[in-house]
């Protein structure tokens, strides 16, 4: 264990958590409304609109089909325009969001489809406005599914952050590649992998607990 610089590992852990926290926040902020719109404009839904739905769906599919490493590089000009730099934790967040938000949006759309149509119809029959149906019935009913989707997305983001080392964003994954792989420091590799494992495990446990809390089925 003589290669291990705990200060460096601490910094890398901090970077990973910052990237994860920042990108997760923005992913939910963008992906949730996107998922709701994808659902509402879908066939047979209350804002059915084939053109809007087709366009959004195409955008989501394009972003989802680009491998994250490529997205990271392709997005550099846009990243610079958005946050002023393509480097470091800051430079990693826009591509992380661009990669994760469409994924999350699709999962949200699926969760909303699971909501019993009868409940939506009953809400309208009670005199609800569309906005009230979405905020008061649709989203609360889909909440366990949406939280589960957020958990899956957060864990996907953990593995995306490992690739963000390509733009010098640091983090545990970067440490594992630069020291553990390129310098054959197996002990560094083991420590970073164990830390990532703990992170994923904690995310899953927290997610499962929250799902259980909000689910009354």
């Amino acid at each position: 264990m003589n290669n291990i610089d705990w200060a460096e590992i601490g910094q890398a852990t901090f970077d990973t958590l910052t990237m994860l926290g920042g990108s997760m926040l923005l992913t939910v902020a963008l992906g949730l409304p996107l998922g709701v719109i994808l659902f509402l404009t879908g066939k047979g839904q209350m804002l059915e609109n084939r053109v809007a739905n087709g366009a959004l769906s195409l955008l989501v599919n394009i972003l989802r089909s680009v491998p994250f490493v490529i997205l990271l590089i392709v997005m550099i000009p846009l990243t610079v325009a958005l946050v002023g730099t393509s480097l470091g934790v800051q430079g990693a967040i826009p591509p992380l969001v661009a990669g994760a938000a469409p994924f999350f949006a699709r999962l949200v759309e699926t969760a909303l489809r699971e909501v019993d149509r009868g409940v939506i119809e009953a809400s309208f029959a009670m005199g609800a406005k569309r906005r009230q149906v979405v905020l008061g019935a649709l989203l609360p009913e889909a909440m366990p599914g949406i939280i589960a989707a957020a958990t899956v997305t957060a864990i996907a983001l953990v593995s995306y952050t490992a690739m963000a080392g390509v733009v010098g964003a640091g983090g545990l994954g970067d440490l594992a590649i630069r020291f553990g792989y390129q310098r054959f420091q197996t002990d560094v590799m083991v420590v970073t992998v164990v830390l990532l494992l703990i992170l994923v495990q904690v995310l899953q446990m927290v997610g499962d607990t929250v799902v259980r809390r909000v689910s009354h089925r």
Binding site: G118, A125, H216
Partner: protein
Amino acid sequence: MIAFEAVSKTYAPKANAKGDGHAALSEVSLSVQAGEVFGVIGASGAGKSTLIRLINGLEKPTDGRVVVDGDDVAALGVEGLRALRRRVGMIFQHFNLLSSKSVADNVAFPLKLAGRPAAEVKARTAELLARVGLSDHATKYPAQLSGGQKQRVGIARALATGPRILLCDEATSALDPETTEQILDLVSGLNRELGLTIVLITHEMDVVRRVCDRVAVLEAGRVVETGAVEDVFLHPASATARRFVREADGEPAAGALLAGRVVRLTFKGEATYKPVLGEVARATGVDYSILGGRIHRLRETPYGQLTLALTGGDVDAAIARFQAEGVRVDPVLAGEGA
């Protein structure tokens, strides 16, 4: 209170299918009086669901008008429609409660949608839960309740905004017979005590018999018979109505091979309990064999119906005596059944 004026509803054809689409209702005309319990009976696919959803504007007619409480439903704007829906409660076969909200929050939901103040919502919710006998379950979630309790929550929720009309969409079809009876009693009580006008759709004649004043029989999107429940039930005119009545009562014995005149006697009210049969047989020397029969209640009125083969003696005199006792006598044609 509610009037259907030559209402038709056609669903658009599927994009990849040929043809003019599917006609759910054709030229339906009905009127429901204030304060009555009106039943609509039909097999699945007959158009019942569409018919009931036209009343609160969940569906729009392709042709004709639906007038509720003086308003043409299709002509109402968004706000007008919302106001109408607060005056028309609805309960459902599968209850359609919000699983994410507690019993009390489910009942409070329509009040919150209407923007009522919190104190009023709380008081009204407690009052409604007491009415349906669920005060002890206010903090539970729907998943913790039995089917009958869920439908009670549905009823409390439907009543929250103080509607004058209650729509029941197969409200007892997912319940066992005992629970069905309790829910029907509750619905009848609302009609009597609050003067609610009730429209219920069902595929069970038994539900109609227990609670309805009048009934319309729906077959393939058309109304084939409308009338007071006792008329439709005792003397169904259409083949569809006869089928529903038979389903409710079971098959009568076949009378085709028996000698004599086959007649159906209908007793109503007090006559049901009089020993008419024996008296008439003794007085006229007519023998009878009972081929089929039923004794039941239509809401509060007892009635009996017997299918008899009359032989020997003076059959015509016997029939005249039955009629004099207030018993209706109808000849039974071969193959018609009871």
